[in-house]
Structures are given as structure tokens and as C-alpha cells.
């Protein structure tokens, strides 16, 4: 189909057969270019329905023009133009499905759960490492109190030091309702925790070892504090205090560590795939998990900043923490099981 914009005599006047080929098809190329240009600028509304419908056809037409031109034309400028145009059209046709909203819906409606289930062996390992880390922290401090200062950073320790009286420790757990600046504190906690879990994920790149070390280090701190509070007979109170946000936060850290480990494991044992391909597949699945982790940390920070300060008895705290744990388990391991296989990235 010759859709010539130029007068037919212009096409006749062209001395070269390849220039005539080009002049005959130029209109299609220009039309595709203008559609692509509008879409690149994000002005999707300015593209008419006709143009949108024509896009795939035009893309193929221009792509075939390119392959013909490569075999018949030596006009470097035209070839460069066509290559550039087909490339841009390809990016538009195969670009990211831009709408963040639709991605989010798919993500929350099963994509996240499926990805979490997809890395279950790594989650088991990460969980075992976290338990081991807690035990190690406890045992270290029990054998030598000096370890406490090594494990717990000074700023965090505050009044929570070995030898502090039970009353002092109780004060750190209860009676903080009057504390001002809860919201700011929550926002700060989130920002901090998010960076830590991004780190746990990103370090998986080094075959997962640093991810595990980070888990051990963080959980050893927990073990040390657990030892401190249980020494004062406040085990249950401490667990309650921690569980309000801790079930969500520790779960998120578990997922982040597991995601990092997943990448490391896929790179160390790629199986039939090439190592790059294995890393890419694992990376995409883990990235979904990580987006979920960030979301969980937002929730954890809000629980920590508000709920923990407002609910001041151990029973209520345990109820909140227990409910959150149950909720996450159900969401990740039971939700959307049936369609799990199709949404798994």
C-alpha cells in the first residue's frame, strides 16, 4: 500500500530505486514517529483511538521496512532513522506497563504472596539463622556480660544495661504514653529499618553470606536484650513490648534476608541456567518481596510509634502482636494459593 504524501512526480523524480522505496513509505514512518513521540512524553490522551489501534500494525510495517532497507538501500541516514524509530516503537510497545496502580493491584492481590512462597527454602534458612542468632546473643552475654556492650550499641542501650534494677527496666517498657513526638519517631524508625533491610537484600549479591551475617548480628542484639530482661523477671513483658511491632518488623527482616539469600543461592547454584539468567530471575522475584518488606516496615513503624506507646499492658500488646503475626502468615502462605503459579514472577 503506497501512502504517498509527496506528489507522485516527486517519487518518479527520485533517481534511485531505494529512494523511491523510501518516499513511498515515508508517510507511515512519520505517523509512527508522531505516535511514539506523544507516548514517550506521556501524553497518552492526545493519541487518538485510531492511532492507538494502528500502533502495532505500524510498528510491524516500519520494522519490515527496516529489514528491506537493510538489504536494498545504502542511504545511511535513512537506515539510522529507521533503526532509531523501530527501537523507540519497540520500547513503547514493550515498555513497562506504566500504570503504577494496576501493578500495585496485581502485587497486593497475589503477586507478593506468590513471590514470598517462591523463596520458601531461603526463608527457612533465614529463619533458622535468626533463631540461632538470638540463641548466640543470649549465650554470649550469659557467659560474659562484656559482650552486652559489644552487641548493643550505646545509644540504644540507654538505661537498659546489665545490672540495672528491675524497676528501671520496667520503666523502659511501660509508661511512655506521655512521650511527645511519636509520629516523628515512627517516621525515623521506618527510614532506618528500611535502609537496613534493603542492605540485607542487596548484600545477597555476594552469594548470600553477608545477608546471613547481618541477620545474625541483628538477632544477637535481640538475644542479649532478652537475656537482660529475663534476668529481671520481665520476659513476658519484654516479649509483649517487642511483639507489637516486632512480629511485623522481624517478619520483614526475615523476608529481606530470605530475599538476599535467594539471590545468593541462585547465583551459587544456577542449575541448568546461565548464572546471569539465574541472578536475573531471582532478582526479579526478590524485588517483589522487597517491595512488600518496605510496606511491612511502614506498618511496623506505625505500630512501634503509636500502638506500643498507647497500649500499656502486656496482654493487649501480645494480642496486637499475635494478630499481626497471624495476619502476615495467612496473607503470605494461604492467600491466593490457587492462582499462585500464574502470578509468580
Amino acid at each position: 500500500m503506497a501512502t504517498a504524501t509527496r506528489a507522485p512526480d516527486a517519487i518518479e523524480a527520485a533517481a534511485l530505486r531505494s529512494d523511491r522505496f523510501r518516499l513511498e513509505r515515508e508517510a507511515d514512518w512519520k505517523r509512527l514517529e508522531s505516535i511514539v513521540q506523544k507516548m514517550e512524553k506521556g501524553r497518552l490522551r492526545k493519541v487518538s483511538d485510531e492511532d492507538l489501534l494502528a500502533l502495532p500494525v505500524l510498528y510491524r510495517t516500519v520494522a519490515s521496512s527496516l529489514s528491506i532497507a537493510r538489504e536494498t538501500s545504502l542511504d545511511a541516514a535513512t537506515l539510522a532513522y529507521l533503526e532509531g524509530l523501530v527501537q523507540r516503537a519497540w520500547f513503547v510497545v514493550y515498555g513497562p506497563r506504566a500504570s503504577l496502580g494496576s501493578w500495585l493491584r496485581k502485587f497486593l492481590g497475589g503477586g507478593l504472596s506468590a513471590s514470598v512462597r517462591g523463596i520458601w527454602p531461603d526463608l527457612l534458612v533465614a529463619f533458622a539463622v535468626m533463631v540461632a542468632g538470638t540463641v548466640v546473643g543470649w549465650l554470649l552475654v550469659e557467659s560474659d556480660v562484656e559482650w552486652y556492650y559489644a552487641l548493643v550499641p550505646g545509644g540504644l542501650a540507654d538505661a537498659r544495661v546489665p545490672g540495672a534494677s528491675a524497676d528501671t527496666l520496667r520503666e523502659t517498657i511501660f509508661g511512655n504514653q506521655e512521650q511527645a513526638g511519636m509520629g516523628a519517631f515512627a517516621a525515623y524508625l521506618f527510614s532506618n529499618n528500611a535502609q537496613v533491610s534493603i542492605l540485607a537484600f542487596a548484600l545477597g549479591f555476594a552469594f548470600g553470606v553477608p545477608s546471613l551475617l547481618l541477620l545474625v548480628q541483628n538477632l544477637a542484639l535481640l538475644g542479649a536484650m532478652l537475656w537482660l530482661y529475663s534476668g529481671a523477671g520481665l520476659t513476658l513483658e519484654f516479649v509483649g513490648w517487642l511483639s507489637v511491632h516486632g512480629t511485623t518488623e522481624l517478619f520483614a527482616i526475615l523476608l529481606a534476608g530470605g530475599a538476599g539469600l535467594h539471590i545468593g543461592r541462585s547465583m551459587a547454584f544456577p542449575g541448568e541456567r546461565s548464572i546471569l539468567q539465574a541472578a536475573a530471575e531471582a532478582g526479579r522475584r526478590s524485588a517483589q518481596v522487597m517491595a512488600g518488606v518496605i510496606l511491612m516496615l511502614v506498618i511496623a513503624a506505625m505500630l512501634e510509634g503509636f500502638a506500643r506507646q498507647l497500649v500499656d499492658d502486656t496482654g493487649g500488646r501480645l494480642a496486637i502482636g499475635g494478630f499481626m503475626l497471624l495476619f502476615w502468615c495467612a496473607y503470605f502462605f494461604a492467600f491466593g494459593r490457587g492462582r499462585g503459579s500464574e502470578v509468580a514472577a
Partner: protein, 309 residues
């Protein structure tokens, strides 16, 4: 590679061919490392500007709030207002640091402003669709590649012992910074994890067709015997020289046209042109006839890459 080899003048080790799902071989040029570094610096500059502007704006608002509420002598309201601004600040900083790259690379151009200015974009390595997961993965890795060692270095220089920690951070930074030098496709760590790469996104305008640029010129050429070249005269050059000549004609700079005409005329035993106009007519005629000859050869499956081939 050979199927489309002579379409461009210069070949480099950065050229890659990607086969689309329709089976079309699309040539891509991987972005140079320097270009990427430049894009990154630009993006950092933009992020810094955004951060500083936001901080200043929020501080101004905070100052205004203090002035406004001073008279009201309501301290708790002031506290809440300031706290809200602080939360806003933390959220903004977090977003600038982490969401800047995500937002722009998920857009239709697949590039941050820095990348757009330097003319590059990201693409999926396997020729498929660029997904949100890929963009997320490649940008999370940026944290350990760049921000982490930077934080380390600044923390180490704050505290007394800059020695060991500083060296470790520097080493770490260098490993990731030079990652693209140690693989063929110039991938940084984030690209490996995400399955993406960074390619050039060239913009070409459709230039005019060569053989209709001045129809009367062309018809004059046809009639004049001076401007007809024999097969032997045309046989001295190949596709490479043809495309070089095309560039000279499109640029149309008088001294270049004269010089090239002199060279070609000398080679085929014709006299050099007296002025630039004449030289241009000569070159234009030679170009058209050489291209007709070479393209006729192409259709018969005979190609001549350059004057040696």
C-alpha cells in the same frame, strides 16, 4: 552480524543485536561507561537540589509556623505542627533517595532526567518487556553500590579512626564502581540482578532523500556527459566510501566538498572543480551513480564493503 553490517559507518564492541518477539533483529548500542557516570552525576545533582529545596521550604514553613503560633501561646499545637513537618521531611528524603530512580525509570522513557539528557535508557536484556520488578531490583542494589560506602566514609571521617573503615569503604566502592569494566555487557551489579542493561536511545530526524534534493540539478546532471561516470570510474569505491560521501553531502560544508571532490577526481582521473557549487554537483552525481551501482549489486547479492573489498 553480517546481515546488516554496512548500515553504519563505525562499528564498535558496544553493538548488540536483540531479536524481538516478532523476529526482527534490532541493533542496540550499549551505553558508554563515561556516559553512564555522567548521567549518574546529573541525577545526583538533581536529587541534591530537590533535597536542599525541600529542606529550605520546610524550614521556612516551620519558621512561619513558629511566628504564627507564638501569639496563640498554644505549645502543643506548635509541637504537633513541627512534628508533622519533621515527618514530611523524613518521608521526602526517603522518597528522593529511593523513589527518584524508580519513578522515572518506570515511565515511558525508561530513563531518569540524567539519562535522558545523556541520551541513554534502560532495557530488558532478554528482549522482553521491562517490568516493575526489574526496575525495583536494579535500584535497590544502588544502595549498596553507592549510598552505603558514602555513608561509611562520612561516618569514618567523623569518628577518629578513618583508617581501616575508610579504606574498606573505598575498596567496596571501587569494586562496585568498576563492576561494569569486568563484564562484556558493561553491567553494574544492579543490572545483573535485574536482568537489564543500559543502551543508547538515539533520536534521528528523517533526512531528505538524496536523489531528489534539487530535481533540476539532477536532470542537468543526467544530460551533461561530464557528469556521467563509467563502470571503471565507479568501481574504485565501496559502501564505506559511499556513506562517507553521503555525510559530506548532507553536511554541505564548502571546504570539505572541495577537498573530497579533488580527491575523487584525482583518483578517477578527472579535473578538480573550479568552485564549491561545481564540486557539489560533481559529488552529487557521483554519489547517485555509485549508490545505484552498489544497490544494484546488493539486489544481486554482491556487496562491496569498501575500496579494498
Amino acid at each position: 552480524m553480517s546481515a546488516y553490517a554496512p548500515t553504519r559507518l563505525r562499528r564498535s564492541d558496544r553493538d548488540r543485536v536483540l531479536v524481538t518477539p516478532e523476529g526482527i533483529a534490532l541493533p542496540f548500542t550499549l551505553s558508554g561507561r563515561g556516559t553512564r557516570a555522567g548521567a549518574l552525576f546529573l541525577d545526583f545533582a538533581f536529587i541534591s537540589i530537590l533535597m536542599i529545596a525541600t529542606t529550605i521550604a520546610l524550614l521556612t514553613i516551620a519558621g512561619g509556623t513558629i511566628d504564627m503560633l507564638e501569639g496563640a501561646s498554644d505549645l502543643s499545637a506548635l509541637g504537633h505542627a513541627l512534628q508533622f513537618l519533621f515527618i514530611l521531611w523524613i518521608a521526602a528524603m526517603f522518597l528522593f533517595r529511593n523513589a527518584y530512580f524508580l519513578y522515572f525509570e518506570l515511565g515511558p522513557k525508561g530513563a531518569t532526567p540524567g539519562k535522558r539528557i545523556t541520551g541513554i535508557r534502560i532495557a530488558a536484556r532478554d528482549g522482553g518487556r521491562l517490568t516493575a520488578e526489574m526496575v525495583i531490583a536494579r535500584n535497590l542494589l544502588r544502595d549498596i553500590e553507592l549510598f552505603l560506602p558514602l555513608v561509611f566514609i562520612s561516618a569514618a571521617s567523623d569518628g577518629g579512626d578513618a583508617g581501616a573503615a575508610g579504606v574498606a569503604a573505598l575498596l567496596w566502592f571501587l569494586i562496585f564502581a568498576f563492576f561494569p569494566f569486568f563484564n562484556r555487557d558493561r553491567l553494574r551489579a544492579g543490572d545483573i540482578i535485574a536482568g537489564t542493561w543500559v543502551v543508547e536511545a538515539p533520536r534521528h530526524k528523517l533526512a531528505a532523500a538524496m536523489s531528489v534534493q534539487g530535481a533540476e540539478e539532477a536532470s542537468a546532471v543526467d544530460r551533461s556527459p561530464d557528469m556521467r561516470f563509467s563502470d571503471e570510474e565507479l568501481a574504485v569505491y565501496g559502501e564505506y566510501e559511499l556513506q562517507t560521501l553521503e555525510r559530506v553531502l548532507r553536511d554541505n560544508r564548502a571546504e570539505a566538498v572541495l577537498k573530497v571532490q579533488e580527491t575523487i577526481a584525482g583518483k578517477i582521473g578527472r579535473s578538480p572543480a573550479p568552485d564549491a557549487d561545481e564540486a557539489r554537483r560533481f559529488l552529487s552525481a557521483y554519489y547517485t551513480q555509485l549508490r545505484a551501482r552498489l544497490e544494484a549489486g546488493m539486489r544481486m547479492g554482491q556487496r562491496k564493503a569498501d575500496k579494498h573489498g
